[in-house]
């Protein structure tokens, strides 16, 4: 690749100051939220308009150079990990809220808009944007769309995909394409549905239309302390079994509580083996009736202390411990891996027991934080990288936890994405035929395999070949004609 030549071309297209090739400047972008992987990109671009994004993609296509999109860089699966011989396209300078159309319950956003800023802008109209990843104060809408981000409240309200009604994107061949819009049910294939969550492999969003939700009349939150995760799990089962769908049910185990306490002094009940945060929202009369049920179910399951948030400040304090949990484990461990797996919720007690056994076997600790309502686990594998072999054991345990999720019919990722990190686990969840079929979609969008190559899929499929099973290295790889993407 002719880095200088392409950089020069890009400078002419979008402006000198928006193209970086200086190594010191590039270093800022060598990893995303999963810092264990680091790759220095050849070129970083900082476009400020959709037209400039398109110009960069077109230049890449012409030069047959791979490109990777990046928003705020908070992703936890290495989805925005740069390509060493490629161009990183940072969308954080496209940060305008183009339209806040409360009458139609929609907002039109540039990809660099920060998640929480959408809710802030909508609040004066009585609306909010529902998907709320823990990083919502910094993560961008473009990244949310790429990863189909979730959050604590997706049990009731769904994920990013359920809240995006339209997108304008630059497809991997450099075309500007509008999918969907403000109105529901656009005719044709639901390409928007496939695009959301495609982790940057099907193009780059330059404009996103999202659904705004009416703020609920009432929100009530309780924090319940239990002796064990089993008891807390029983409370969750009872609540769901009674036909109540809370806005959120979050669980933390003892180790995660210790960490949160050390980091943000959330003052959760002392001696708890597990805490549940349960939040109900909706019409006041409905919430009132269901809240009593939830409280009763928690007591029956053995809650030894129940606190009910009296106001928004107290509610925020309940959530503070939970939302800071990932970073908080840094207080109790020199290093940690944030895992993201999903199991059928009813398998929770069994999976937690087995996970504890695995942790003992591997000689490392696991703190557990999870979206208990939908079985999305975030085990935090704690280790000390100064201790010989511990990092490897932690990595091994982390993989074993994913196997455990698959064994129980779950998923290797509920909201962080496959990215770079989990591509190798995909064949354990899907057959070769399943993966091959997914690659057909990629080939339709990206025949030259330039858009975020190396992510999601463990092995490449060269577009245009006859569908079939692949064993071993691809012939073109073996001949050195194609690199391993």
């Amino acid at each position: 690749m002719d880095v200088q030549g392409l950089a020069q071309q890009l400078r002419e297209a979008i402006g000198d100051e928006k193209v970086l090739t200086d190594r010191a400047q590039l270093r800022t972008y060598e990893c995303d939220g999963l810092a264990v992987y680091k790759v220095m990109p050849a070129i970083v671009t900082l476009p400020e308009t959709a037209g400039q994004v398109q110009a960069v993609v077109r230049a890449c296509v012409e030069a047959k150079v791979p490109f990777v999109a990046r928003g705020s860089g908070t992703g936890l699966s290495g989805g925005a990990l740069p390509h060493a011989d490629g161009v990183l396209i940072v969308t954080s300078k496209l940060r305008s809220i183009l339209e806040l159309d409360a009458d139609n319950e929609r907002a039109v956003l540039e990809p660099g808009v920060v998640n929480l800023d959408v809710t802030r802008a909508a609040a004066p109209y009585g609306y909010y944007y529902a998907p709320d990843p823990s990083s919502q104060q910094i993560c961008s809408i473009g990244g949310n769309v790429a990863e189909n981000s979730g959050g604590a409240h997706c049990l009731k309200y769904g994920f990013t995909t359920n809240h995006v009604t339209g997108a304008r994107l630059v497809s991997p061949d450099g075309a500007a394409v509008q999918l969907g819009g403000k109105a529901p049910d656009p005719p044709g294939y639901d390409l928007l549905g496939a695009f959301v969550g495609s982790e940057g492999t099907l193009g780059i969003a330059t404009e996103v239309t999202v659904r705004l939700m009416r703020a609920p009349e009432s929100v009530r939150t309780l924090l319940a302390a239990f002796g064990s995760t089993d008891d807390a799990g029983a409370a969750v089962s009872a609540i769901i079994g009674a036909g109540v769908i809370p806005a959120a049910i979050e669980m933390m185990d003892a180790l995660a509580i210790d960490a949160a306490e050390a980091a943000v002094r959330c003052n959760y009940p002392k001696g708890a083996g597990a805490v549940l945060i349960v939040e109900l929202d909706g019409p006041a009369s409905e919430v009132e009736a269901q809240f009593e049920q939830v409280e009763a179910h928690c007591r029956t399951a053995g809650a030894f202390e129940i606190r009910i948030a009296a106001d928004n400040a107290e509610r925020a304090l309940f959530w503070k411990g939970r939302k800071s949990a990932f970073a908080a484990v840094g207080r109790i461990s020199p290093a940690y891996i944030v895992q993201d797996g999903v199991i059928p919720r009813t398998a929770l007690p069994e999976v937690l027991r087995r996970m504890a056994e695995l942790a003992t076997e591997h000689g490392v600790r696991v703190a557990n934080v999870f979206h208990a309502g939908d079985g999305n686990l975030h085990p935090l594998v704690l280790f000390d990288d100064a201790v010989e072999g511990e990092a490897e054991r932690a990595e091994e345990l982390s993989g074993a936890i994913l196997d455990l999720c698959i064994e129980h019919g779950g998923s290797i990722t509920g909201e962080h994405g496959v990215g770079m990190d989990k591509a190798k686990h995909m064949p354990r969840m899907y057959t070769d035929d399943d993966l091959d079929t997914m690659q057909l979609l990629r080939c339709a969008f990206d025949p030259h395999h330039l858009s975020n190559p190396g992510k999601i899929f463990p092995t490449p499929r060269l577009c245009g070949e006859v569908p079939g099973r692949h064993t071993g290295a691809h012939p073109l790889q073996e001949q050195g004609l194609a690199e391993v993407f």
């Binding site: 009416r214 079994g241 769908i245 919720r345 079985g375 091959d436 997914m438 569908p467």
Partner: protein
């Protein structure tokens, strides 16, 4: 093509469930050569491999309630009748999910789920429709306001590609972002990307009770304003419908669901929003059913919320101007269905379609001809302009390079 050889090869897969097609087997007026009724995903795959070998075009068919939707196929050699692939494979009530075979009827699915006080929160305008057909046409109803549509409820899919390869995407857990979401691609694809054999769906608890509040008003604009008032309130309705017959008053119908002790206050709030004349009653028989009957011309109109009123009044005006009665029913969330009688003048129908399309476009919406007399549909642009068509064609070319699955039915001649 050697017909005997084809029949032999198909019969080797599913002997007693393969037959030459008869006069009743036509798909939207197009006579097929053979009908096969596979009993499993594997059998479907084997049949599709035989079809690929012989270059047969294939149309999947469930109960056949919507085979006169969209465009008629340009050709049909083999009909794959999915109704032998019936039954709920699993209902994990504690996990709020179910796995169901494509040939199961919506009625059977709902009654299976109801035994555990759960539901698939999706209205079935045709109760005898199969799950597979419902997914393939992405049909939905009034409760889309609260629960969304299949794209919000389908969490996993098994389908067979044109080349006979079985593929799965998604899974059996609600939260899952591993791999591309083929469930969404197959939803509303009208059988052009693959044959759906099994799906995993998210379930919801059955509400304990429901209340219906409705009001009759003189015209569509007023109805839309009232309906939008409820939609934009904090009462969280499950459905807000507007029924505008070809002549006469327009009805707004609001459905609220929940726990008994909470419903009274919510129903009062709705009554207040709708104003004097609003009454608590029962759901009308028409609720959740299309305004068009068999043979009628049926349109699906989408719009932003602010376009609902103008579209309702335009339907009245267009009806008068072109002398064709137009009834409209649908959700104030922006999905309306319009009906014109089967014997409507095709020229008038074409004008109504064109004008309605132009109006809907100003509200970011579209108009699709869902159904109607086949000669009328052949004369109309059923799908209208499609954004992203080039990528759609490329996807079709990847999954079905010979264009043998439901050819001609879909957008852009796909």
């Amino acid at each position: 093509m050697n017909d005997g050889a084809v029949l032999d090869d198909l019969s080797k897969v599913a002997d007693d469930r393969v037959r030459p097609a008869g006069a009743d087997d036509s798909i939207d007026g197009v006579p097929p050569g053979y009908v096969a009724r596979p009993s499993s995903t594997d059998e479907t795959a084997e049949l599709l491999r035989v079809a690929a070998h012989h270059g047969l075009s294939v149309v999947a068919k469930g109960s056949g309630t919507k085979q006169d939707w969209a465009n008629p196929p340009s050709r049909v050699d083999l009909v794959l009748d999915t109704t032998a692939m019936a039954g709920v494979v699993e209902h994990a009530a504690g996990d709020l999910i179910t796995i169901v075979r494509a040939g199961t009827t919506m009625t059977d699915l709902q009654s299976a789920l109801a035994s555990a006080d759960q539901q698939l929160a999706l209205d079935a305008p045709f109760p005898s429709a199969t799950v597979g057909g419902t997914v393939a046409t992405n049909s939905s109803g009034p409760r889309r306001v609260l629960y969304g549509t299949l794209r919000d409820l389908l969490i996993g899919i098994t389908f067979v590609r044109a080349d006979g390869v079985v593929a799965k995407a998604g899974g059996r857990v609600v939260k899952n972002v591993a791999g591309y979401d083929f469930g969404k691609l197959l939803t509303g694809s009208y059988g052009t990307l693959g044959v759906i054999t099994e799906v995993a769906l998210r379930c919801h608890p059955l509400p304990t009770t429901q209340r219906v509040v409705s009001i009759d008003v003189p015209d569509g604009e007023v109805a839309a304003d009232l309906a939008l008032g409820v939609l934009r309130s904090q009462v969280v309705p499950s459905a807000v419908e507007v029924h505008q017959p070809a002549a006469g008053p327009v009805t707004v119908i609001v459905l609220i669901e929940g726990v008994e002790s909470g419903l009274g206050a919510r129903a009062d709030a709705v009554r207040e929003l709708l104003g004097a004349g609003a009454a608590i009653g029962d759901l009308p028989d028409s609720f959740g059913h299309y305004p068009f009957g068999s043979g009628d011309l049926g349109l699906k109109i989408t719009t932003t919320l602010t376009g609902v009123g103008p579209i309702l009044s335009a339907a009245q005006n267009l009806g008068h101007r072109h002398d064709v009665p137009i009834a409209v029913r649908g959700s104030v969330a922006g999905v309306l269905y319009a009906a014109m009688p089967a014997d409507s003048d095709p020229v008038a129908a074409a004008r109504v379609l064109a004008e309605m399309r132009a109006l809907a476009a100003t509200y970011d919406g579209t108009v699709v001809v869902l159904t109607g007399p086949v000669e009328t549909r052949r004369a109309l642009d059923v799908w209208g302009p499609i954004s992203g068509l080039d990528l759609m064609r490329r996807l079709k070319d990847q999954l079905d390079p010979d264009h043998r699955l439901s050819p001609g039915r879909f957008v852009g001649g796909i």
